[in-house]
Symmetry: C2
Subunit: 123 residues, 2 copies
């Protein structure tokens, strides 16, 4: 991940409503949630929610697909992981023995990436 896309993701998350949406999707896991369900749980007006989902999506933080009349949104775990990795990159001024576990953790968390076939077995 480079600076531009990291900035895009971070500023997308730098908004209370969008952060709440993203965290809700993260906790919902790979199954995701319909837009209406998100609106209900967070008490958001449909058009605001839609605009904010669009911003999260342009920042590659969510994916979506239509299911009948609903549109299902999911957190994009691979972007999330890449973002965290970018943020803490070169942590502690090149003392890898301290932050190595972080990198290891991040590489393991990569398995949470929303590849449909792997999601059910892993998550």
């Amino acid at each position: 991940m480079e600076s531009k896309s990291a900035t895009l993701s971070l500023s997308a998350l730098g908004h209370e409503g969008r952060l709440a949406i993203f965290r809700l999707l993260v906790s919902a896991g790979p199954t995701g949630l319909a837009a209406g369900e998100i609106a209900r749980q967070l008490g958001m007006v449909p058009n605001s929610l839609s605009a904010n989902l669009n911003i999260l999506s342009r920042a590659n933080l969510t994916t979506s697909h239509r299911d009948g009349r609903s549109i299902i949104y999911q957190a994009d775990f691979s972007t999330m992981t890449a973002l965290v990795g970018f943020l803490v990159g070169d942590c502690c001024g090149g003392a890898p023995e301290i932050c190595a576990p972080l990198n290891q953790l991040l590489s393991q968390a990569q398995q949470c990436a929303p590849t449909p076939s792997r999601q059910k077995e892993l998550c």
Copy 2:
């Protein structure tokens, strides 16, 4: 960390210049860097840099202290860690066996928190 302060930190980092500053400070480690040194390395005008350092500071992402004519800025590793923890909290819809390593990593990275006495030995 709650939503409000996480949002503050994320929107502070959602700006290309500030993200560059923060990452430079993260890679500089607990020693930190003088404002002028940051300006030189990133090619920023002093007043813009100052404004952005102020925003990072209000978001608890940096600490600073005066050293002669210079002011030394450091990344606040404890906020960074808390922020990452908040972001990936409840990852994968309650399948802790997948994301447990992440939590472990984050708790280990806590040791990078800028407690001056521990910084030298740990980082």
